[in-house]
């Protein structure tokens, strides 16, 4: 199978003044291309730290992380920025769109840092917005969009640079249950198109839509099992997807 992510005995220790916090105590797992994984666990279990490492926002204290076969721990800061830009797409709990910026400009942002010319940026951003069903809202400012729409713009932004993985950190945490299903339906559709998705969540209902559950406790994986994913039934509005 085509391996996208390989964590080998990853340890992450934070030192906060005198205090040493072992957030990850030796975590190993691999993710293959096309998987839809959810990482679960109580807060403080190490799942967010794991996400930061997967997202190249942080580096392991020891152990290695191979993304597409490349040992990320050996890369320079600039090279890591490029990995984040080209290979990863982030979806956050708080949407994290730029304020006073249109949906399309938000989606274009990764392409700006990838130095894609303006015309191509525009067409690719529109294409990504199309995929999340928001092409008609390209000119709306982030504050003119509902929570669900903002998250869909964020997904389009994560998609736009055709990443190897989409990393979603509690993507439905700020959404009501109906919108949650909308978003999960989009993720499932993207997954069906072959995109690898790793999602952190603490809600079992949300994890039900994914096909593999990794559960963290106290910095270690306590279970890692495939799951018969439930299909998110898209509400009427997103059926056109």
């Amino acid at each position: 199978m085509d391996e996208v992510v390989r964590l080998n005995d990853v340890v992450k220790i934070y030192t906060m003044g005198e205090e040493r916090v072992e957030a990850m105590k030796g975590v190993s797992f691999t993710v293959n291309r096309g998987e839809f994984v959810s990482i679960m666990g109580a807060s403080g279990s190490g799942k967010s730290t794991c996400m930061n490492i997967l997202g190249c926002l942080d580096v392991p204290t020891s152990g290695s992380y191979l993304l597409d076969g490349v040992n990320v721990g050996e890369l320079s800061a600039d090279a890591l920025a490029e990995v984040r830009n080209k290979k990863l797409g982030f979806v956050f709990q708080g949407f994290n769109l730029l304020a006073r910026t249109t949906a399309r400009q938000n989606v274009e942002l990764p392409l700006v840092y990838a130095q894609i010319p303006a015309a191509e940026r525009k067409s690719r951003a529109l294409e990504a917005l199309e995929k999340v069903g928001l092409a008609s809202r390209e000119g709306h400012y982030s504050n003119q969009l509902s929570g669900g729409q903002q998250q869909r713009v964020a997904i389009a932004r994560a998609l736009v640079n055709r990443p190897s993985i989409i990393l979603a950190d509690e993507p439905t945490g700020n959404l009501d249950s109906r919108t949650t299903i909308e978003i999960m339906a989009i993720f499932q559709e993207l997954n069906r198109q072959g995109i690898t998705i790793i999602m952190v969540t603490h809600e079992p209902d949300v994890a039900e839509f994914t096909s593999r559950h990794i559960i963290f406790r106290d910095g270690l994986i306590i279970s890692d099992e495939p799951y018969q994913a439930k299909t998110a039934v898209p509400p009427v509005e997103v059926e056109k997807l």
Partner: protein, 409 residues
């Protein structure tokens, strides 16, 4: 690495969001640059005015005046004697290699009449070199010639003030005027010079041939005597040498020795110019320095606001880093914003400074001098202030930890 253009767009958007704040922040730079430009313009205008006045006397000049003499224990002041002659002047011209032009003159005053107008003015008996030495222009007619001098002709050159007061509209060329009741023909008109550094009207003057003045007009008991000799060195470098040569020659001609005191004095006019220029230069540097303090204060304002801006936009920075912005992209973004602030402020300040200088010029009547250099330097300086004071906030932004930045509320 984003392009500069992208950073500029982002910066423009960021400034548009906080228009009032941007404007107030710019105000420091506006005032700073405006003050620097206005002060330098006024300062250099003033110094140009002074040096123009001084150089209107003529350049590279030595002024030879009769000295004091002691007679019966009484010492006269400078110029209290009549020891310089036309022959001295001719000898200087003939024998001093560093000397270019030599203009002996006698001075007097008298009433001038033309038609029903009359005017009291200053009369000079001069040689053709006077026009060269004093840097006069002749706007109409011709200079006095050597044959005018040798033949003691009754031709004269008149200054603009005399033209205004005697002729009032009619063309003076070729007209006969009466100077001290003697008829003279106007053969040339001098260009306007304006005031001397001492405030005298240099245009209120009539030049007649030296011999004519000596023999017919100012009737002296020693007909060969001149009141002063102006000596122009060939150029500024040989001015000191010319002074030595003239001194040596006059000492020899006047038989100055242990038993005879020096009966003439030589004044070097370029020293006056140098001193005055020096002092006005110091003044404009001082003005510029005071004004640039306000520029520094403005720069600190920029830094302050940029720090606030970085803190406010911590989350945005986090998003950008997560999405693939490199450290230098973030740096560039905030540096661009700071430089944009200062250069906008610089341009507005420049316009205000120029306007202010013009206003002062029209109110006080001082000339102001706005050089392209000043503008370029001011512009560069305002951009430099942006880079200097924007650097620390930009570095702070670039050094943010994306994980913390994304969680920042």
């Amino acid at each position: 690495m984003t392009t500069l253009w992208q950073s500029l767009l982002i910066a423009l958007r960021a400034l548009r969001v906080n228009k009032m704040r941007a404007l107030l922040t710019m105000l420091g730079i506006i005032i700073g640059i405006g003050a620097v430009i206005a002060m330098v313009a006024i300062g250099s205008g003033a110094s140009k005015m002074i040096s123009d006045q001084i150089s209107s006397i003529g350049s590279n000049l030595l002024l030879v005046l009769p000295g004091s003499v002691t007679s019966g224990g009484m010492r006269s002041g400078a110029g209290g004697t009549q020891t310089l002659t036309y022959d001295d002047a001719r000898a200087i011209k003939a024998e001093c290699p560093s000397v270019g032009a030599v203009a002996p003159s006698v001075r007097g005053s008298g009433q001038v009449v033309f038609g029903n107008q009359n005017w009291s003015t200053v009369l000079f008996g001069v040689t053709p070199d006077m026009v060269t030495v004093r840097d006069w222009t002749i706007v109409a007619g011709r200079n006095i010639t050597q044959s005018d001098v040798d033949g003691a002709t009754k031709n004269c050159l008149i200054g603009q003030t005399v033209v205004d007061n005697l002729f009032g509209g009619t063309d003076p060329m070729g007209k006969i005027i009466r100077i001290k009741k003697i008829p003279f023909t106007v053969v040339g008109i001098l260009g306007r010079k304006g005031q001397s550094p001492q405030g005298q009207d240099q245009d209120d003057v009539i030049y007649v041939p030296l011999r004519t003045a000596q023999r017919k007009l100012l009737g002296s008991q020693f007909p060969n005597v001149v009141g002063s000799i102006m000596v122009q060195a060939k150029d500024a470098e040989v001015l000191d040498k010319a002074e030595e040569e003239v001194t040596e020659l006059l000492n020899q001609r006047h038989r100055i020795g242990p038993n005879r005191e020096v009966d003439y004095t030589i004044r070097n006019l370029s020293e006056l110019l140098a001193v005055t220029e020096q002092s006005s230069k110091v003044m404009s540097i001082l003005l510029g320095a005071v004004a640039s303090i306000s520029l520094v204060v403005g720069g600190i304002g920029i830094m302050n606001i940029m720090l606030v801006s970085v803190t406010e936009r911590t989350r945005e920075i986090g998003i950008r880093i997560a999405i693939g912005a490199k450290k230098r992209d973030i740096m560039l973004q905030f540096l661009t914003e700071a430089v944009l602030l200062t250069t906008c402020g610089g341009i507005i300040g420049m316009l205000l400074g120029v306007a202010g200088a013009r206003l002062v010029a029209s109110l006080i009547g001082w000339p102001t001098l706005i050089s392209v250099n000043t503008i370029i330097i001011a512009f560069g300086f305002s951009a430099g202030v942006g880079v200097f004071f924007g650097f620390y906030p930009a570095r702070k932004a670039a050094a943010l930890n994306p994980i913390d930045a994304l969680r920042y509320e």
